[in-house]
């Protein structure tokens, strides 16, 4: 195999609706994901995180740009040529309640994925289901139970077992722990980390919780109104953020420390309607550093170090009152 990344997204855009109701949900987004690597997607509601996930899985078609998986262009490949890709890229959803069919036993939920790709039959199928359940920390003896007989965290484990059944290379996890209590969240996060390392999975990890993303991911991309504001290693983005929006997100995250100084307010106003995004820099209506130039010119992503890019005309981390 070449050194090409597992997943490469280049200039990807997705529009919904037609003018005047046109929403540019994803706007010229590029990134790559190496084998076994985890990339976090963060940003406020409506920033395009889930749409990127659905595009990368080819659940919806792109309006522009390219998606390459294992070196193959899958952007417009017909469904019949997506067979191997369909196996190798799997989704884990936010809501462990809604994402499992309540009328199916666990053995069928996990088994369906095996059947769809003709992976195991008869005794081998049953053994594989047992193995998968044990892999995610559920007793194999529970395979004949129904989803409602499990707790939220256990249901999320079933969802993960189902995704792993087909031995994927890539997992797209869309808010996989947001619906869970902190103690259950901890169990599921540790399980996902463990599986990722043991199975060499790459992961696109979508979350609005920066602490969770920091724990789980090697790199982070910060999105706002469909565009990447900043992308880099977890260390760079979470510890040395360069974009005003990244800084504002970090400042807004609750700090579980009652002795922390009161938070600094780094944002003004509300997110603009995606139907009428601001001219120039899309973040300018809430940015404390905006100038006239920001209304006229959209900043391009610029390099600030190896693998670290941000889209702002200025470098506020170097200004005295940043």
């Amino acid at each position: 195999m070449s050194t090409e990344p597992l997943l490469t997204i280049a200039g990807l855009s997705k529009n919904f609706g037609k003018a005047p109701h046109l929403v540019r949900a994803v706007n010229d987004v590029s990134f790559s994901l190496g084998r076994g690597e985890a990339l976090g997607l963060v940003g406020e509601s409506g920033s395009g995180k889930s749409t990127i996930g659905r595009l990368a899985l080819r659940l919806i078609d792109a309006s522009a740009g390219q998606i390459r998986f294992e070196g193959q262009d899958i952007t417009a490949a017909p469904e019949r040529r997506l067979g191997l890709f369909r196996r190798q890229a799997q989704m884990v959803f936010q809501d462990p309640y809604a994402s499992l069919n309540p009328r199916l036993r666990v053995s069928s939920i996990v088994g369906e994925a095996l059947d769809a790709h003709g992976l195991a039959r008869g005794a081998a199928r049953k053994a594989r289901i047992a193995e998968l359940l044990e892999l995610v920390g559920l007793p194999a003896a529970h395979m004949e139970r129904y989803p409602h007989e499990f707790s939220g965290g256990q249901r999320q484990r079933i969802g993960i077992a189902r995704a792993l059944a087909v031995e994927p290379r890539l997992i797209i996890a869309d808010e996989p722990v947001s619906a869970l209590d902190v103690s259950v969240q901890a169990q599921v996060l540790n399980l996902m980390q463990d599986l990722r390392r043991r199975l060499g999975l790459a992961m696109l990890f979508i979350s609005h919780d920066l602490d969770v993303v920091e724990l789980m991911c090697d790199r982070i991309a910060v999105l706002y109104l469909g565009r990447i504001m900043e992308i880099g290693t977890t260390e760079q983005v979470a510890r040395h953020p360069r974009h005003p929006y990244t800084r504002a997100l970090i400042a807004a995250s609750p700090r579980p420390d009652p002795d922390a100084p009161p938070r600094e307010r780094m944002l003004t106003g509300d997110i603009p309607s995606p139907l009428a995004p601001p001219s120039g820099c899309v973040f300018r209506t809430r940015c404390l550093h905006a100038t006239e130039r920001c209304a006229k010119e959209a900043p391009a992503l610029r390099e600030t170090g190896p693998e670290h890019q941000f889209a702002c005309h200025f470098d506020i981390s170097h200004s005295p009152n940043a």
Partner: protein, 330 residues
């Protein structure tokens, strides 16, 4: 010392179900003073919302009832009444006027067919007896208070024309429009982005100070607790297991469950033997116990005695702890 604004004493709430009577809240006590925020934390199902519904007199009838204890509330008039036994008409008069509530989902308390200004104006006409003009002016003022930009104009908007964060703020404006003495907030920021959550928390804290309100803040987010609470009550399986000032709780938790809960936070991740960052988790899930401490099946510090004797809530230095071993573990 004056009596607290709200004193829940030894509260139990029971529901009649097909499988017989269940009592998901047992022996809960907590107090809130004026100008104080008390947070109630605990896993889903631990009884936080049932406690708040009982306080509001909003338990589903006839299945649910307060089966034990008192909920003493000091009225504006100075009289103290027991909300657990107050007549329905009294509770109705209190709600909105002296006790207000905000929820996770703003649309449960906003009327979709009235403009946001009309809804607030209607509430103050009803509870404060303002005339139309004064009520409208007050509505605009409240919307400005919760930082709705261009409030005079936005007052004529319908809720569905506003973003989720704005609707949440409108709900707060509505809840606070009659200057309640007590605000019950049940997961009010759980569905919001962190940016909007930060805005709402700052706002609530400012309004609490300006109005001198007591706030009962229910959440399962410990980061939010650290930020907003003066005191914290931790619930597990329907009981209070620990109650303490917020600094004490975070810096020196006494109950093994509180300690474990804090360690589950991703921000407290530790390096494991191979140098990887992992969070500690609490094994298993909440389960029913026949005897002894409810947390014993999951407690790293449990001894055989813990499955025999049920711990009582012990008071010490302004804190309360329900654990047989807290002194030796401290």
């Amino acid at each position: 010392m004056t009596a607290p604004l709200l004193a829940i004493e030894d509260l139990a709430v029971s529901f009649r179900t097909e499988e017989g009577e269940v009592t998901p809240v047992r022996g809960v006590s907590l107090q809130i003073s004026e100008n104080e925020t008390v947070a109630v934390v605990g896993e889903s199902g631990s009884g936080k919302s049932v406690t708040s519904f009982a306080t509001m007199g909003l338990l589903p009838r006839p299945a649910g009832r307060v089966s034990q204890g008192r909920i003493l509330f000091r009225r504006r008039s100075g009289d103290t009444i027991d909300l657990a036994t107050a007549p329905r008409a009294t509770m109705q008069a209190l709600r909105g006027a002296e006790i207000a509530m905000i929820f996770q989902e703003p649309m449960t308390s906003l009327n979709p067919v009235l403009t946001v200004g009309e809804q607030i104006a209607e509430a103050v006409r009803l509870h404060l007896g303002y005339d139309r003009r004064k009520a409208w002016a007050h509505a605009v003022e409240m919307l400005g208070l919760v930082e709705i930009p261009d409030a005079a104009r936005r007052a004529s908007d319908y809720p569905h024309h506003m973003s989720g964060g704005m609707r949440q703020r409108v709900m707060i404006a509505l809840a606070l429009s009659c200057r309640p003495a007590l605000l019950i907030a049940d997961e009010p920021t759980t569905a919001l982005d962190v940016t909007i959550q930060a805005q709402v928390l700052t706002l609530l804290d400012r309004l609490r100070r300006e109005l001198g309100m007591g706030v009962l803040f229910i959440t399962h987010n410990l980061g939010v607790v650290a930020e907003i609470a003066d005191r914290v009550t931790v619930m597990y399986a329907g009981e209070v297991v620990e109650s303490a000032p917020v600094r004490d709780l975070f810096n020196a938790p006494r109950h093994p469950y509180t300690r474990a809960l804090l360690e589950c936070m991703p921000s407290r991740a530790i390096q494991d033997a191979s140098g990887r960052r992992v969070v500690r988790s609490i094994p298993g899930q909440v389960s029913r116990v026949e005897r002894g401490c409810a947390f014993a099946p999951r407690c790293a510090d449990a001894t055989p005695a813990c499955s025999v004797e049920a711990p009582m809530l012990e008071s010490d230095a302004g804190r309360q702890t329900r654990c047989l071993r807290w002194r030796e573990l401290a």
